[in-house]
Symmetry: C2
Subunit: 221 residues, 2 copies
């Protein structure tokens, strides 16, 4: 266990995307946030599969503009950027800080690994008051491929100077856990809200309702 490093996904896993609703609902009904986020993720996958890197916030702007058009609502790139910039100031879920404290108290190494850009994750962790828990704030921007590309998880391992099997990716997204496990890492799935692993998901050895449960399992392993 000495060399294991816990690597946290950021959006939804640590930070509450519901904090974006006030800005989002200025442009589109809040009920469309899930569709927008899914399309932002798919956009990012399209970029990586077709060999191009365009930052996550640009993927979000593109997804917002096209989701608006699909709903018959014209949204300018500037308006969309204002919404996406709101991701820089999301509150942490209430279970996050106690869990990070508990892990830090035991001397566990921790980092983030996010599809957000380097600039965005720095703002996010600073605004949420979480930066002090992490040895590094890693972003896929450094490798130019979005999660779940194996290159993203390998980047985390090499940046933290451990083998891929020595990082444990903690995420509230089944696809992120699946990608990490297929890349050779350990993982833990947070069943945040109604998020659940699907029939095709890889099944990690740690699953819990919140980060408190995840931290307890990690410390008991």
């Amino acid at each position: 266990m000495a060399k294991q490093v816990i690597v946290f996904d950021v959006n939804e896993t640590l930070l509450d995307l519901a904090g974006l609703e006030p800005r989002f609902s200025e442009l589109l009904p809040a009920g469309m946030m899930a569709l927008w986020f899914s399309r932002m993720l798919f956009n990012s996958a399209v970029a990586t599969m077709s060999g191009v890197y365009q930052p996550f916030d640009q993927q979000g702007i593109d997804a917002l503009v096209t989701t608006g058009l699909g709903a018959g609502i014209e949204i300018s790139e500037e308006e969309a950027r204002w919404v996406v910039d709101g991701m820089r100031d999301l509150p942490p879920h209430p279970d996050v800080e106690p869990a990070l404290e508990a892990l830090q108290d035991e001397g566990i190494r921790m980092a983030t690994l996010t599809n957000s850009s380097r600039s965005m994750v720095r703002d996010q962790m600073g605004n949420a008051g979480l930066a002090r828990y992490f040895e590094k704030l890693l972003s896929v921007e450094s490798v130019g491929e979005f999660k779940p590309s194996p290159a993203a998880y390998r980047h985390a391992a090499s940046s933290l100077a451990v083998g891929i099997s020595e990082i444990r990716l903690v995420a509230a997204h089944a696809w992120d856990v699946t990608g990490a496990i297929r890349a050779g890492a350990l993982a833990a799935f947070v069943e945040r809200g109604r998020a659940r692993l699907g029939p095709l998901s890889e099944k990690p050895d740690i699953v819990a309702r919140d980060l408190t449960g995840i931290a307890s399992s990690i410390l008991a392993h």
Copy 2:
């Protein structure tokens, strides 16, 4: 132009996904179809990015089960399969057959290239009465990577014995057009309903409201 082959995407481009609404709405509100379809696409991208191939209908089942859980509705894999199997019997959009006729009359070579499985695309084209227009019904199942992976478009070119720059992918999805162009193919975008290219999309030299317009532009090129 002699060697150019027109390669059609299937779902939404040729066939009307709205035909799935009666089955879908037995399990979830019809308004969630866009979210489900986006997640099916992202699931498929996750599979390809993490080096695994699991057929498109399985991706659809997984996305339906987890979208149900997110809405607080438990859906069994059997119920989800019944919905996804409804994709085998979708009606063509009304502009499709006249456009395919016009292209066939001019001796244009045509094929399909879909993320659907081989079995599904055979059923789809048979049930829609469109099979006779196509030299080949190509599926990404033969290459084991979903569009927009470049391997999928290269597979189409090699199966049709032409260079990648001699196929023109016709699709109603910005991401498919983008993937084809980045792989080195030509493309044409159908602005079906409210579908539009986004700020990050590659811009093809042919864009039209329906397949009649696409066919006219192809014949005029």
